[in-house]
Amino acid sequence: MSDPIDPLDHLRLPIVPVEPRAGFAAALLRRIEDQEEPASPRGATVRYFVDDLDAAVDFYRDLLGFEEELRPSPAFAMLYRGDLRLLLSVPGEPHAMPDGTFPEPGGWNRISLHVAELDAIVADLRDRGARFRNDISVGVGVRQVLVLDPAGNLIELFEPLAGYHERATSPVR
């Protein structure tokens, strides 16, 4: 394909990094940051069962910073917190299993929310009447605590410690 003795092959120009003007670099970074979307539809969806929809929506919205997206019926609501979409359902006929059992709130599985300044947030939530399952504990790479929603579902709040790991970016979404 290429002529091995083409004299112009000597014109190959490797990339030598060149810092642009500081003012340009800063202005471009601001432009990029301004374009960031506040929330994207690429995150995970989790469904929690609750017995009192109003109380649950109030809790997630007012205490944990979720945004209410939809509440199309008395038995269902959709909330967002960044990339996380949380579905709240009041158990009813559509959820009945073939053996006659219904889903119910509670259990040990939970969503895990990364927060800054865990101590301050826990103190604030206690002041506002939130129920906790335990006190702040130290795990591997994190400090964490379990808070209960009004229906008894667990939410884990954590803040990173030394050794905490998380993928820096998400190449596969």
Partner: protein
């Protein structure tokens, strides 16, 4: 909770920016030969990354991916310049088929200076083929031409470069 407690996932474009900025700018600056054009194209490259990152299946952002975008921006720039040049008489032809060998030792700086004087299509073809070292087929794809048309364009571009380079030698 307050707004500052929103998940602090770092935007991938913001994350790669400090590392990629000098690379993208360092790719564009010597090829377009103008500080202000290099800045414009650098900005266009990163804003294209922001847009691409919003797609359903965003690309994996790497410096190589950004350089590829920068190369497209450069070609688009020359296409615009080429449209403006039309109507202005640009000496292009004249040397087809004339066997005018290159000197055994090519003065690369003089050759880059000569390249900067060529018409936008010639400059674009030679930059992709020789400065970036792309195979002819990739040059053709970048320019939106057939391989055969690209070979012809490259032949003419090399003849034009040879002519301008020779004029420089004489001075």
């Amino acid at each position: 909770m307050s707004a500052r407690d929103k998940p602090d996932e770092v935007d991938p474009v913001v994350a790669i920016y400090p590392r990629a900025l000098p690379q993208v700018h360092g790719y564009l600056l010597p090829r377009c030969g103008s500080a202000s054009v290099a800045e414009d194209l650098t900005a266009e490259t990163f804003m294209a990354a922001v847009t691409a990152n919003r797609r359903e299946n965003p690309p994996v952002l790497t410096v190589a991916w950004l350089i590829g975008v920068a190369r497209h921006k450069l070609v688009d720039h020359w296409r615009r310049v080429g449209r403006e040049e039309r109507g202005v008489a640009v000496a292009e032809g004249g040397c087809d088929g004339v066997d005018d060998p290159w000197p055994s030792h090519l003065d690369t700086e003089a050759a880059y200076a000569a390249l900067a004087k060529l018409s936008a299509p010639h400059r674009s073809a030679l930059t992709l083929r020789y400065l970036d070292g792309l195979p002819v087929a990739e040059v053709a794809a970048m320019l939106g031409r057939s391989v055969h048309a690209t070979e012809t364009l490259l032949m003419r571009a090399k003849a034009a470069l040879r002519r301008v380079y020779r004029e420089g030698e004489g001075s």
